[in-house]
Symmetry: D2
Subunit: 433 residues, 4 copies
């Protein structure tokens, strides 16, 4: 965890205090259920809730001796609860507590991330509607292709993050399970009803079949999903980085008054937020493979997954939370330059309309191969002039072209609105009516 890339609400989920508090709740709820089943005295369960407490430092001190975190925790709680503490953890195994706690933490982290996605979607939608009909050049291979609108670019981003929202909801459901099933998952020493009770109280579903642990394919799917979301962040961040290039400059990250772009070059305004997001995406992606490698635990469990999760549990969720919030802010405050978009659109001498002429020629009876050659030979001249020549004028002066199309027919193909006629259709698909 890198403090500068962390926000408090998400970080709080992963503090020792939070973890031990969740452990305590799991143990106390489990004892309630055991009491209800008559396995332990009801007064013991009551005493645990009433007197139960812990101190992080004390737990650490005990763990240094016994080298087992859950035993250290139980010992510390027993120091507060006294004699009834011996009824805690009856028939449970450490992983019952640890894995159910991780499920609670990941579910809470998911809720924050889902909220982050909602805010991002809201920001993207607002800007998309604002620029629904702002014309800009569409580019494939970094090369001008045909006109789109800036709103369409954002509509695509909206649809992508909306898919990510659905994926994250599925991933949340995958990890939000509770296992209180004992040393090897057989419920030998604990009734399955205890699991059901704890699950309900902690907002989880019950794990149908656990070994000593909750199976790690669930967590692998969760972290893989975060990796996909991070990749989508990289995509939108890369778009902004491209748009802010000096030669393009169609949009720019907000640059606050006190900000300095470069210690050496006072003229610089750099897309540092989106470059930063590109790097953060690499990190969140980097956690996917360790999570996948965690699946193949030996037999009923080995503990190799644990150290991995101590890293990636906090690091992946905290980093993604930060990245989503930063991206939301970037989109929210993005400075958009429609005039520059238009200028860039115009700079190619009309080449962006080449396809329409091609189609018009084929519809006028020219073979596709011939039409392609006719358009290409004029287009290449415009290309080499860096937009100084006009494709429309060259076509009108090409007798092989005018043999098929009249000047008026040629001119009619150089119409920007033609490209925008289905923007409504697409917006309706993405945002609903």
């Amino acid at each position: 965890m890198v403090p500068r890339y962390a926000r408090p609400a998400m970080s709080d989920i992963w503090t020792p205090e939070s973890r031990f508090r969740i452990w305590f709740e799991i143990e106390a709820h489990a004892t309630d259920a055991l009491a209800e089943l008559g396995v332990v005295p009801k007064e013991a369960a009551k005493a645990i809730w009433e007197k139960g407490a812990f101190e992080v430092e004390r737990i650490d001190a005990i763990e240094a001796e016994v080298k087992h975190d859950v035993i250290a925790f139980l010992t510390n709680v027993a120091e507060h609860v006294g004699e009834p503490a011996r009824f805690m953890h009856q028939g449970m195994t450490s992983s019952d507590v640890l894995d159910t706690c991780l499920a609670v933490q990941l579910a809470r982290a998911s809720d924050i991330l889902l909220d982050d996605l909602d805010k991002l979607l809201e920001a993207i939608k607002r800007r998309a509607l604002e620029h629904k009909l702002t014309p800009t050049i569409g580019r494939s291979h970094g090369i001008h292709a045909e006109p789109v609108t800036f709103g369409l670019k954002l509509a695509q981003a909206y649809a992508e993050f909306d898919r990510n929202r659905a994926r994250l909801k599925a991933a949340r459901a995958d990890v939000a399970t509770c296992a209180i099933s004992g040393a090897v998952g057989t419920f030998a020493n604990i009734d399955p009803r205890v699991e059901a009770h704890v699950a309900e109280k902690m907002g989880l579903t019950t794990e149908p079949v656990s070994t000593q642990v909750i199976p790690r394919d669930r967590h692998a799917m969760f972290f893989a999903t975060l990796g996909v979301i991070a990749s989508s962040i990289e995509r939108l961040a890369t778009e902004v980085r491209h748009l802010q290039r000096t030669e393009v400059l169609e949009a720019e990250e907000y640059f606050s008054p006190g900000q300095k772009g470069s210690s050496a070059m006072p003229h610089k305004r750099n897309p540092v937020l989106t470059e930063n997001l590109t790097g953060l995406a690499r990190m969140v992606r980097g956690y996917v493979t360790p999570a996948l490698e965690n699946v193949a635990l030996w037999h009923e469990r080995d503990i190799s997954h644990s150290s991995v999760e101590r890293f990636i549990g906090p690091d992946a969720t905290i980093t993604l939370d930060f990245a989503l919030a930063r991206l939301t802010s970037v989109i929210d405050k993005l400075v958009v330059y429609p005039a520059r978009m238009q200028k860039n659109l115009d700079r190619m001498g009309g080449l962006v309309h080449s396809q329409r002429v091609l189609l018009a020629l084929t519809q006028a009876g020219v073979s596709r191969e011939d039409a392609y050659r006719l358009v290409q030979r004029n287009a290449m001249k415009v290309w080499e002039s860096d937009g100084a020549l006009s494709l429309m004028e060259l076509l009108k002066a090409d007798p092989d072209v005018t043999a098929a199309l009249s000047p008026q027919e040629i001119e009619a193909r150089f119409d920007l609105d033609y490209h925008l006629k289905h923007v409504d259709t697409i917006f309706a698909r993405v945002f609903g009516d």
Copy 2:
């Protein structure tokens, strides 16, 4: 693609013939829709279906010249269709064909993989029911813990692959979309109804908003899901490898009469199939990161994803198909040794029952800490004797223990059936009633 790890049905999806056939269908259906809309003559659409054909070698030859695969394909088809061919591909862009084709291929691949998973689930279920009550030792950290049944191990595998089935269905839906939206996704030169028609005919849904391409977060999620499934394969394969170890030998891959385990050591019978599956899982996982890196294409698209997909499209699906089928065969024919399982269960001098004694002591009023110490000091003696001593006998001879528990109460804790009483519950959860 490594031929020895490929099966024909899946490989066929990825041949040039299959790809060009799908291209042809997409183009022909699109022309149908264009004809229906009155954009092109109905006879042209009819001629394409009737005379349309292609030859892989011819396409390759043309591509060598024009350096563009779709143009090469169209040129070759036009050689068969003649003049009406100029109405093909009207207003479409190459990616409309390529991406929709990839969607068809991944959907078909998914169907095979889903079928593979069904067969695997069936095999696991059959063996799980067969060994529902076959006792075996449960192990955590590779160390004997408490008894489970071999059926429970398989029930866990069943539940895991059943989750994978659901994930794959979701991933299939994610990639099975059709985009026929033109050069930059604006439908400038093609009516959205063409897309709807092609989607329906090819068994896909329509892509709500595409750029020049279908967004690659969809494919990233697909390949990430394959990576999770591969990790589950590794888990079950690793279980078999462990069980076949010389010292454990509780189960063994089927070893056919003509087979040789080692060129040098005639006595060897090695778990080579599951070791192989472990390696194949590494490969399928290795394709996840390139798929994630494919998401952040530049602007409305760059073509960097294409070479990646030429590798991982076939390699990930063909390898996973092979691996699932191989795992199914391993499980199906797995030689299980219940007698050896029982022998291993017994080899620890009753240590596997230590928790029950611990619980009995605490229920008899001994503090958890004292109870743990009492059991541990006897357990360690048994441990060091390598099972020659009996925990039950030692406990009955320990006055601190017998102060709390009578010999009969101690003996009652060494009961195997006690551990199996909830097997029915778990099986009902996993397989239904």
Copy 3:
């Protein structure tokens, strides 16, 4: 392996024919050494060289029955050699043949890759010298910074690939070892002198201590090194992609006369080669993690590495060979536009000289903070004018600036040559004198 990304010389290394030929040589050399040591008859060794032969199809057929590739190979060779064949493979284990063969293949692949790197270095050097003093804007964050030369960009690429060359040589040495040490590496049934003889004949060093296999940390290091080289390819490819952007267009991939950039847009000339290289780099990087996962084989070996290597051995080397050759061709034929570079340099109204003014102000006694503010406030006006205003003129009109610097002193800071004065120094460092 994807045929379109494969070149014959590298592919040939990985054919069954090549592999079996290497196996044959290893076995025959080993038998020579055994004969020399008096373990087997000299006539047998001679007979093996004279009559030894194999057929790929026959080996496949035998393997289908015995399920062991080396046994199948030996059986087939024995069919040609006859009775003396029983002296082959004496005291050896399959991995002695397989691992030593892989070492030979990787060494040969390295030699091709080293040659590829030499050719790439040569092309980069030629173009670097050609454009040693071609001014172009240096960019950080995609934003104009200060002038560099196009030759300097290439000099950096040269230095980077020169480091990669050294890394690959080290990696080659790491994998080029021979192990003929028997079933578990103890030389129980084979004299270490056999290993020494085979190593020498096959151009390898001897493995100091093997288990059943050559340790896989060697191969992990090898494939990790290929991953680094691939990343450098991506870097240079990305540079070209950026330079070819419509708005930048400072350089362009060579576009052959018959080529078509887009099936729909006849005006397109796309950087498809370098985009392709970006994708290929992702693949070669994707093979690193499986290679790392191969290291932790169980005990004296398990065979999980084998399937991984059947993929990545060919795929990583063939793909990297292709990519290096393609990159060499891209650099070799790159169309460079110095006039456009100059035009881009000039488009920012002199902002690229802002740092020099800043330094001049501080040297004239203005505090760094004040100097930064003075320059920034004028620079921002130029920035917002999209280069219509001139930084030099604005500074000359700013009394707070002219209080410290005379107009002549200001003008002197807007000198391009100032930035190029150490190009010789850097070229001497990179290319020698």
Copy 4:
């Protein structure tokens, strides 16, 4: 960074205090060189060393406003140094400081890791010599193969970590470079002699050609090397985990008196340290791909690498340092059970000698194929008896075998020392004479 997996010496390298201290030294040394060259007053350089100071909190506060860490640092130092501070950072760019600082940190981290490796090598060597001739079974595929010694296993580990030591030294040299070359690497505003001076003072070499940054292929190679080392850690850790399995129990992690293996099962002694190392290895490997993705920065640099390095700089080095130290401790204190090794060696009824009989038969004139069949048919009986039958006795009773070998000749093949005769040779190769 996870505190429980961190050791102070390595962590200290990565504190803000350490980083700013290195920044200060770089700036002060650079000013010295500038003074020597007459660019700035010598008194200014002296004042910087004498009065220069910084406070982490103050830097953080300034950075919150200016959003630029190096400017914040310089501003804070200037508050202490006063007027001469304006001569700091003359002609430098932030990356000159940041990248050179990172080089110093990675070089120092390498020194600790090299020292860790030395200690690990020492521990492995000590235990290898101790168990040079302790016989144990060699296993391929987890199946008993032929005898080795425990010392040989450790000799292999020694050779592997010795290779890793050499790789790390090379990786250290790769990253330990200094760049003080200005905004785009041209030395426009700073003399190359400043770089040479700083490099010498900070213990680095000079970077031959930088852009705004030191090229990231260097760092990629560094982190890839750490990934290889981590994989070797996983290998040795996995070996220990296997040896400690209940059924094998040939060695065991040291288990301290106060330690508890399981909260539920008092009999457990688990290989938790080596399982933990397996997980830590996954993490260090997980940092390789982000480092590779950092190579392809845009043009003369973008800042996407920075956030990645804020994670992986500390996390990879701190985690690997901890893991190496933990592994050293595991090996140092490993409890080895030679008696159990012998017992396991004997448990297969002599099957481990099958190859020698095979060789004896072929040398006695039986064809390899026939010999294999003869041995295998007897071996399989022993296998199925779980070691109750004796291979030697069965062979002596098999007339087809005794037709070729006398009972004495058969018995002579069941000799353990035969397998150990080259241990000296191998030890001499690995440890020298």
